[in-house]
């Protein structure tokens, strides 16, 4: 929070799927180093909003600036933006035809033209960081869900991103594996990474978030610090949601 420059600006963003407004006129500013947790019932548009940030979903109207680049501008090279924005998926989406290590080195080698040796060294360091260095040469199918997700986080980090997006990273995991993934995310948070996390893990939100955003029906209903949010939420819908989930 030392640096209070906004790194992501979301201005009046709407995303329609046909008649459905998945995201309805949302505006948000996220500062460098900030950890934002987005919560809300399923179908509230929180994942869609997250996915608009690296243009996996194209917005219908509004404007999104990432690190000063307008991502909908034709002049913007979206692939450059994406190299700065790491993403972690609910279903891990590791490349099954590559080993854990190769999953990490592929993008840096092909896209940033980093020498293979250097990329591998960096990859090993990251695998160590997510506590899975011993599985470097193993294919994803031979890893547990928790292990796969940790490799997926390391894969995103291998591109040295400025921002990390997490799309329900623990929802597909068996309960006993959730902790190991959250621990990695907490470490990352402590290192000062800018993080936007869509999750149902309220403990994580309470412990890590600088700000919690509650979305429903595509709109931001309420936002605030975890203390405010979990102790005295103002909106009825927030209260209802929290009462159901906690």
């Amino acid at each position: 929070m030392e640096n209070s420059e906004p790194i992501i600006r979301i201005e009046n963003v709407t995303k329609r799927f046909g008649h459905l407004k998945a995201v309805d006129n949302v505006s948000l500013t996220i500062k460098t180093g900030e950890k934002v947790v987005i919560i809300g019932p399923s179908g509230s548009g929180k994942s869609t909003l997250l996915r608009t940030i690296n243009r996996l979903e194209e917005i219908t109207s509004g404007r999104i600036l990432v690190d000063g680049m307008d991502i909908m501008d034709r002049a913007t090279d979206i692939n450059r933006v994406r190299m700065e924005v790491g993403m972690v998926f609910q279903n891990f989406n590791l490349f099954p035809h590559k080993t854990a290590l190769q999953n990490l080195t592929m993008a840096p080698v092909k896209l940033k033209k980093i020498p293979r040796q250097e990329a591998e060294k960096n990859a090993l360091r990251l695998l160590k960081k997510v506590n899975i260095a011993e599985k470097a040469d193993v294919y994803p199918t031979q890893l547990s869900g928790g292990q796969q997700q940790r490799v997926a986080i390391a894969r995103a980090l291998a591109m040295n991103p400025k921002i990390m997006l997490f799309d329900e990273p623990t929802s597909a995991l068996d309960p006993e594996m959730i902790g190991e993934v959250l621990d990695v995310m907490k470490t990352l948070a402590l290192e000062g990474m800018t993080m936007i996390v869509v999750t149902h893990e309220m403990g994580f939100a309470r412990e890590v978030a600088d700000r919690v955003i509650f979305m429903d029906h595509g709109a931001v209903v309420e936002e605030g610090t975890p203390e405010h949010f979990f102790k005295n939420p103002t909106h009825d819908r927030t209260k209802l949601f929290l009462s159901q989930i906690l």
Binding site: F92, L94, F95, H97, K110, Y139, T141
Partner: protein, 261 residues
């Protein structure tokens, strides 16, 4: 990640030997060994005409191999482009690919061969081998295009998203992430197409291409040893086809080395 392996079953070639089918009495082994034993027996027991026939054929076998090899290569490229065209969001590319498949699949290969060689021969002078390879690959490219499309579509959308989110563009995603995985789904039906293509190369003999069948026909037409000649021709085609199916099966094994997914 837990999606089931999709099997595209388009088979008109010899069966590709299954890995489970390792028994001594598998259909592949019986056919292969049987064909070899019969061939050797015939040649030794009646060198005239069998040995003469066998000696007459090698350059035809080479031509059959050449036509098969080049046609497979070119058909793969055409198939890939067609498959990509079919899934393209560009409407023109899509329409071209779809129309091409529709037209080619509606015309018998034999007619296509005649057409490319004799009908277009009035305007473009292509050597017979080139005409044969073009006709075979244009025809099989259409079939392979459909296989490629199905193979590419069988890959989970999450793979594309993961690659795109890392900064790979559409093309890089296709070549680094999607195709290497799709290849596993694609290979068995494509292998079937390889084998069917090999067998269909016998049709190029009508273009006066001196392939295995034409060499056989030349021998038979001169010696009148129809039974003997066509027996040998059939055995040789069978052997080549079985070898190719084995090769495809080995390639499948290779692709399976990183486990099921």
């Amino acid at each position: 990640m837990t999606q089931e392996k999709i099997i595209i079953d388009v088979g008109d070639g010899a069966a590709i030997p299954s890995k489970k089918d390792m028994g001594l009495f598998s259909a592949w082994r019986i056919s292969f060994c049987g064909a070899i034993v019969l061939l050797i027996y015939l040649v030794i027991s009646r060198p005239d005409p069998y040995l003469k026939i066998v000696k007459f054929l090698p350059d035809g076998i080479i031509v059959t191999f050449q036509v098969t090899f080049f046609s497979i290569g070119l058909a793969l490229i055409i198939g890939l482009i067609t498959g990509l065209g079919r899934i393209s969001r560009n409407r023109i590319a899509n329409a071209i690919a779809s129309t091409y498949i529709e037209v080619i699949r509606g015309i018998p290969l034999l007619v296509q061969l005649f057409y490319i060689y004799y009908a277009l021969g009035r305007f473009v002078r292509v050597p017979d081998m080139v005409a044969a390879v073009i006709a075979m690959s244009v025809c099989y490219g259409a079939y392979m295009g459909e296989v490629f499309r199905a193979g590419i579509e069988s890959i989970d959308k999450g793979q594309t998203e993961a690659a795109r989110s890392l900064g790979f563009n559409r093309t890089q995603t296709m070549f680094y992430v999607i195709l290497p995985q799709a290849w596993r789904t694609i290979l068995p039906p494509v292998g079937n197409e390889f084998i069917a293509l090999l067998k269909d190369t016998s049709l190029v003999s009508i273009l006066a291409v001196a392939d295995l069948l034409r060499r056989g026909r030349e021998f038979a037409a001169e010696s009148f040893a129809y039974f003997e000649t066509y027996t040998i021709i059939a055995l040789i085609y069978l052997l080549i086809t079985l070898l190719l199916s084995k090769l495809v099966s080995i390639m499948e094994d290779r692709l399976n080395y990183y486990g099921k997914f």
